[in-house]
Amino acid sequence: MSYTRRGFLKLTGAGVACLSLSQLGFDLTEARAYATSLKTKGAKEVITICPFCSVSCHIIAHVRDGKLISTEGDPDFPINEGALCAKGAALLSMSRNEHRIKKPLYRAPYSEKWEEKDWDWVLSKIARRVKDTRDKELIEKNDKGQTVNRLDSMFLLGTSHASNEECALIHQAMRGLGVVHMDHQARI
């Protein structure tokens, strides 16, 4: 058989179980014809990685007209070989989800509700809180007179959901601000 596993799956769209069928000598013409009518027809394939646990199963996201229409395990990735668990298999419903938060929300002190805001408004407000807290509470020297430049009263918690790039930049930003209370799921 000259098919690569991935090429074969593309043709049949029917999963690993079919491999044995072809090996047993089944004619694949019909399966191929069926494949052309699949819902992923014409969709762009994008490699993504499951956002849960540390196996990092690779997933193929099918995108058409800028919309995610299907996700499936990447059969070429040597670790998951196309398989996904319940969480990985739910990637599509996880990203297209009515519970998603769509806009920045703000809850004023003592308020009973959220208010929708835009990003510029929240970012400038947050920057103000950060600066005011830091200017007021940065500890430049400890009791022994040693320089410590530490902002004990501010913290950052999270997250293993961040990419390596995001972790690197968040760490750098926090140390720049003087933050030392920093923790995330690695300690859970």
Binding site: I49, L123, R129, L138
Partner: protein, 808 residues
């Protein structure tokens, strides 16, 4: 993991302890089953019978929190019955080192204990050195104070009787596991140990893992295919977030956080750079100043110069021994010492112990910034049940987060493989990635400091910081770049070009890198190697499934750590059938070796454990806060009131916080006689904040339950499906009773001890599903890591008249 997911298939014996691998890492479990198909024995040691047990050769029920007793029993069995791999032990571990006279262990305490501060002075935990400063050794292993004999003496108390009595494991089961797993103490067999949070979440978590390290070194199972100690890390990018360090105590690349007593750049380097005088010890951390300087250059760019100590003076410095982890943060918050902060992609109001306290603590903040996909118990804490929002002062920002499919970047899996994920679609509505929120937020702060001045503005304004967030810009910086034109081994690199390997990083300011471990992942020659999808491998590599051309793996694409321990002094594989590396007379073939030096017999080689100062595997490990050798201590809350073979009941150095809400049940407290252990589910992730919002996952696992044995159910008059109240000294939780033989009562010191188990992923923002299980668990933690003891606490259970948190 010392090894990687696929490598599990190479094992002859698999011990899964402190993990429910089949349910928590379901896809990876195929590699366990593949080993089993090839004849490996799979054993599951766990309080609960689960799907992992069902697919194992046998399940061994154990009382939660007694793993060191279990493992110590195996170490004793190996030593007493000569089941260790002698050449490996002598040549590659510190078993032959002579321990100095001052070191002692008596009545459960190591030398140097100070009861007032509850800490050890570790200065007596050391080796005798020769005139050159190299540890003295006795390769015959006869010296009474060599590590091997001290180990033998220490674990002689861990006989089958004692171990069975404390763990609740039958003697037959102990014999069965010990004999099967120790059969891998030969060159042609490998055994692997797979653990997860079931081992780390104890006040003795680090020593659980140390017990595995000792056992695996004795059996010669480190560095070989199918061996190793494999942490099944449970979170999406938790390997990467640890490497790049969203943690208080280290900075990226596993270097210490600057401390107040290291006031200058030079003082930091002096205190943190080990020196070895043994010409055969690679002592890899001798290069630390190169990595540290490159990191500072990454953070402060051209502003970091040799003259200003690369801006070291601007960084925050923690006090020696200070703890800034969750447990202490929330305690300080409870005591009104914290003003504001960020909680992103995390639900600590559900996932941190003693939820009743931490939920109250959060009310004391002036401001809180959160960024999530959905509302969670943390973002919405201000209107939780029983609280009047009109009395909560906290100003809360909730930023909409982009989902994985909506962003690009790299993540690192448990086997240290670096993977690139592309952006499939634009973020939903106004959602943004963390990067696209934090980069502009910091630019706003920088602009304010430039306009207004303020305290220590240069720590912020001098940062090397871009205008907008571009993930691949950071991927390149993580690898590192030259800051001036440089020649490396005859190749010219221009300023701004990628550094080819961490061996080219420098402490003279000519290189920058945000993480030395990742240098080599994105080079001029190879591009962004996280994107590699090439299945090609040599026959030798394919034999053990190394996949060296698929993605990239830290360090330097080495797939199996400490692999120089898989060959003899001539560089020949100890197990030729599953060779990892091999010296072909001119070069190493197979995996990337742990350093390219010639084999040891050439006289120019190095000992295999290159990250430890003296180059040997550390059976005696003097660096830990609670002892150089593991000792069984009871969980802080325990159903027994005396230790069967020591006078020290619980760890003498475990960490805790103290407030009116931090009560602990006393040992063998009759009000709380049942052991509680907590765990995750396949369908929900961690505190459940995300997965509860996915209908198909919530349908599969819809509400909080408590698993208990039929014997306990009968004793308490509870039927399967009843609503029950589970109660600890700190709080109460409603759950549905799941009566099952998966939980077994255990005989511990002659009396019956019951265990119950609960997931912790349900919360009040998903109505009717139940609320935080962690209202029951205590804020006590491991002295090395401060990881809390989620896995063993004491509770009681009764039938509920009526449920308010769960819809029946």
């Amino acid at each position: 993991m010392t090894n990687h997911w696929i490598d599990i298939k190479n094992a002859d014996s698999i011990l899964i302890i402190g993990s429910n691998a089949a349910e928590h890492h379901p896809v990876s479990f195929k590699w366990v089953l593949r080993a089993k198909d090839a004849g490996a024995t799979v054993m599951h040691v766990d309080p609960k019978f689960s799907r992992t047990s069902a697919r194992s050769d046998f399940h061994v029920p154990i009382r939660s929190g007694t793993d060191i007793a279990f493992m110590g029993g195996m170490i004793n069995y190996v030593l007493e019955n000569g089941r260790y791999y002698k050449d490996y032990v002598v040549d590659y571990t510190n078993a032959s080192y002579i321990v100095s006279e001052g070191f002692e262990f008596n009545d459960g305490l190591f030398s140097g204990y100070d009861p007032k501060s509850r800490t050890y002075d570790q200065s007596s935990w050391k080796f005798d050195l020769d005139s050159k400063g190299v540890p003295k050794k006795d390769p015959s292993l006869k010296h009474p104070r060599c590590v091997f004999n001290l180990l033998k003496k220490h674990f002689s108390r861990y006989n089958i009787e004692n171990v069975s009595s404390v763990t609740g494991v039958s003697k037959d089961n102990l014999q069965k596991v010990y004999s099967t797993f120790s059969s891998t103490g030969t060159p042609d067999k490998a055994g692997t140990i797979m653990y997860a949070l079931g081992w780390t979440q104890h006040t003795v978590g680090v020593q659980n893992i140390r017990s595995a390290a000792i056992l695996q070194l004795l059996l010669g199972n480190i560095g070989v295919a199918g061996g190793g100690i494999n942490a099944l890390r449970g979170e999406p990018n938790v390997q990467g977030s640890t490497d790049h360090t969203l943690l208080y105590h280290i900075i990226p690349g596993y270097m210490a956080m600057p401390r107040a007593d290291w006031q200058t750049y030079d003082a930091y380097n002096k205190a943190n750079t080990p020196v070895s005088t043994d010409p055969h010890s690679a002592n890899w951390w001798q290069h630390k100043p190169k990595y540290f300087t490159s990191l500072l250059k990454g953070w402060y760019g051209e502003n970091a110069t040799a003259k200003n100590g690369y801006c070291y003076g601007l960084l925050p410095k923690i006090e020696k021994g200070a703890d800034h982890s969750y447990m202490f943060l929330f305690d300080r918050m409870y005591n009104n010492e914290i003003t504001g902060g960020f909680i992103i992609g995390l639900n600590p109001m559900n996932s941190v112990p003693n939820s009743n306290k931490v939920r109250k603590a959060l009310d004391n903040l002036d401001w809180l910034v959160t960024q999530e996909l959905h509302h969670s118990e943390t973002t919405d804490n201000w209107h939780r049940p029983g609280v009047d929002p009109k009395k909560v002062k906290t100003e809360v920002f909730l930023l909409p987060s982009a989902h994985r499919v909506e962003k690009e970047g790299t993540v690192t899996n448990s086997g240290r493989w670096l993977g690139w994920h592309d952006k499939a679609i634009e973020p939903e509505a106004d959602a943004r990635s963390f990067g696209a929120a934090f980069v502009p937020m910091m630019n706003e702060v920088r602009a304010l400091y430039k306009e207004e001045g303020g305290k220590l503005p240069e720590a912020i304004t001098l940062l090397n910081w871009p205008k907008t967030y571009n993930p691949e810009y950071w991927t390149r910086l993580i690898n590192g770049q030259f800051t001036k034109d440089t020649v490396v081994k005859g190749t010219k690199y221009k300023k701004g070009q990628q550094v080819p390997s961490f061996t080219a990083l420098s402490d003279d300011g000519s290189t920058m890198s945000l993480n030395w471990l990742y240098t080599g992942s994105y080079t001029e020659e190879g591009g962004n190697k996280a994107k590699r999808r090439n299945p090609q491998q040599t026959k030798m590599q394919a034999n053990i499934g190394l996949y060296p051309n698929w993605a990239w793996c830290w360090p330097v694409n080495r797939r199996i750590l400490y692999n120089r321990a898989s060959v003899n002094a001539d560089g020949m594989p100890l197990n030729p059938k599953k060779a990892v590396i091999k010296w072909d007379g001119k070069k190493w073939v197979g995996d990337v070796p742990d350093g390219g030096w010639k084999p040891l017999s050439s006289g120019k080689g190095k000992h295999p454990f290159i990250m430890s100062k003296h180059g040997h595997g550390q059976i005696f490990g003097p660096g830990r806060k609670d002892g150089p050798i593991p000792e069984h201590y009871e969980p802080v809350e325990t159903p027994i009131d005396s230790h069967p073979f020591s006078k020290q009941l619980s760890s003498p150095v475990y960490k805790f916080v103290d407030s009116s809400m931090d009560k602990l049940a006393k040992p063998a407290d009759p009000n709380f006689p049942i052991v509680l252990t907590t765990y995750s589910l396949t369908e929900h992730w961690c505190g459940g904040g995300e997965t509860r919002n996915v209908p198909n996952l919530l349908e599969a696992e819809p509400q909080l339950y408590v698993e208990m044995s039929p014997e306990l159910a009968e004793e308490k008059g509870i039927a399967n499906g009843d609503g029950v109240i589970v109660e600890s000294i700190r709080g109460k939780v409603e759950a549905i009773a799941m009566v099952t033989v998966r939980m077994r009562p255990l005989k511990v010191k002659g009396k019956t001890v019951h265990l119950v188990g609960m997931p912790f992923c349900f919360g009040w923002t998903t109505p009717g599903t139940g609320d935080s299980t962690n209202r029951l668990t205590p804020s006590v933690g491991d002295p090395n890591t401060t990881i809390p003891e989620y896995k063993a606490s004491c509770v009681n259970i009764r039938k509920a008249d009526k449920l308010t948190e769960i819809e029946m």
